[in-house]
Subunit: 347 residues, 2 copies
């Protein structure tokens, strides 16, 4: 298994600098959520375990490095210079907003496992999980409001509204077997890609990147966000909980149609489609133990899992193309490598 | 029934000015939540019906009027002057944060009625209600970030963190029959009084109030917030759904001890307390149909409902005293009248 940041040797310096930055982000993250209440301390400490790859803060930092256009590639100068504290705050804010959505998503999905630990809802009930997510959101905006400008807060809040819109659209189309690829893509663009694109944009903007560089990095983030979600949906369908580290099979159970299923329904001959539809419906309703396995067989027959994986890879290639006009810095190379890792990951 | 703002005739001008201001707040509120998604539009329109007294924006406006120290009492000058737009934004932000907590509270309380209409969770499920609440929170911070300074956003976000802390503390102490008055007061200070105090403080601050005036109005708001919650808890215990307009009996069902019950347990002779405890526990568990009625009888025997009402009135008198050094403007008189209305209300 490769970590998202386990990239080739020439990037060792970037990796070290990034790790130090992420450590500082964690410090700001924890400080921002401090509370005088024991009940709150206990919960925030538990959720710290959800912290994984820290993809969003890493993208803030590398986008700043890539946009600064420093050919010597001294990421350290960007991250440790005068714009460093702001980049740490923006990174922590994006991670906190993301963590809040994880906590709330686990309530929605009735999930009991996250990063190999218990979810908040499984441990302390849905009520506590809802309010804890709210606490993280409030903490994120509190931290964001300590910046010396409002543009970042405005961007993060707008992104959060878009993310919620995507989730509401998805809920609205639940169990809707006529969902098409365009709508699926619109949903994941909002619910996942928006915040990742925002992380890239904010990093690039704070580093004083040119409008073209900021736009390129935003476009890169939007695409790897989409690829990440397609891959995530695939893992939910085909992965095993021990490897993925969180509850799998959530999508089918919650009536969420994902790319392989949409592709399969479109690719099936009319006579077959009715059967697949019935199977998908049964898999979605969770009342037929073997429906998911049967559905998986049918998906393989139309090459739909393979198609979804190829789609994710094509989106990643498109993400990488967005960076072609940026100077060839170590930060840019790291971003290219990270994009590749998104579709390789098994967790 | 009196409306919170249905105050005596000499305040008609204030009332008219306030109504116009609240209309502008509603305009900003709705504009801030606009979405291109039909699914989102449908939900935000439904929640508009929850809008009731708009206590928080009203307090923003009147605190601004009272803090400006304009003896002629020209609230219009304050609300329509250069600081007007900022006051409208702050009012809409406080209302939006409050509305988000209502939507999430209804999920936590499994309530199905709010302002005589269906709750979002009853209508569209818990998932949609959780995300819609998140959408309101994001909308609030987005709107707040359009101000020309960060102090207000910082204050609102801090208040939201405190509110969540209060809710988490309350959840942590659920079914805890040893809960004392001090902890109950600490919970309602956080979960209810904090945001109301913030509304007063922000209004006073934006109107350029002196530090003493800002502190007085913040203290006033904190107290009427506490009195409001004590009264709300009483209505939950003694009110009828047709009058209150929302589900009642929530607190007992969710194992939340409120002031009358806490007072009763403390006032009961030791031999009686065990029986009351058992009854409170049964009432809390909802598995005994007549336990709430029996508990109510016992509460009356120790004068505990009366005690809670008198406590609310004492807090209101304390709130009114906080305003004694402010100039005698129509805004101040309106605030004094509003404080009185808090403990009179039956809904």
């Amino acid at each position: 298994m490769r970590d998202l940041l386990d990239i080739d040797d020439s990037l060792k310096a970037v990796q070290g600098e990034l790790a130090a930055y992420l450590g500082r982000v964690v410090g700001r993250f924890d400080a921002a959520l401090e509370s005088d209440l024991l009940a709150v301390q206990r919960l925030t400490r538990h959720v710290e375990r959800y912290r994984g790859k820290m993809l969003r803060p890493a993208l803030v930092a590398l986008s700043a490095g890539a946009a600064s256009g420093d050919l010597a590639g001294d990421l350290a100068a960007v991250l440790r210079g005068p714009m460093g504290p702001g980049l740490e705050i923006v990174g922590a804010v994006c991670e906190m907003v993301h963590m809040a959505t994880l906590v709330h998503d686990d309530v929605l999905d009735e999930a009991d496992t996250r990063r190999r630990g218990q979810t908040v809802n499984a441990m302390s009930g849905n009520e506590t999980a809802v309010i804890l997510g709210d606490y993280f959101i409030a903490g994120a905006y509190h931290l964001c409001s300590t910046l010396d400008e409002q543009a970042s807060a405005l961007r993060v809040a707008r992104a959060s509204m878009v993310v919620c819109g995507g989730e509401l659209l998805q809920l609205d189309r639940r169990d809707d077997l006529s969902l098409d690829v365009a709508t699926y893509m619109a949903i994941i663009d909002r619910k996942t890609a928006e915040l990742i694109a925002t992380a890239c944009e904010l990093g690039a903007t704070r580093a004083g990147g040119s409008p073209a560089a900021v736009a390129a990095l935003e476009a890169y983030g939007r695409r790897i966000g989409a690829a990440f979600q397609v891959r995530d949906d695939l893992l939910d369908l085909t992965g095993r909980e021990e490897v993925v580290g969180k509850s799998v099979g959530r999508d089918a159970r919650k009536g969420k149609l994902t790319l392989p299923v949409i592709h399969h329904l479109a690719a099936s001959p009319p006579a077959e489609r009715a059967h697949s539809l019935a199977l998908a419906l049964r898999a979605a309703r969770e009342d037929e133990g073997d429906a998911p396995a049967q559905l998986r067989q049918r998906l393989d027959a139309t090459g739909s899992v393979e198609h979804a994986q190829r789609t994710a890879e094509a989106i990643v290639a498109d993400a990488q193309r967005q960076l072609q006009d940026l100077p060839d810095t170590p930060s840019r190379r790291a971003l290219l490598a990270m994009a590749g890792a998104v579709v390789d990951r098994a967790f």
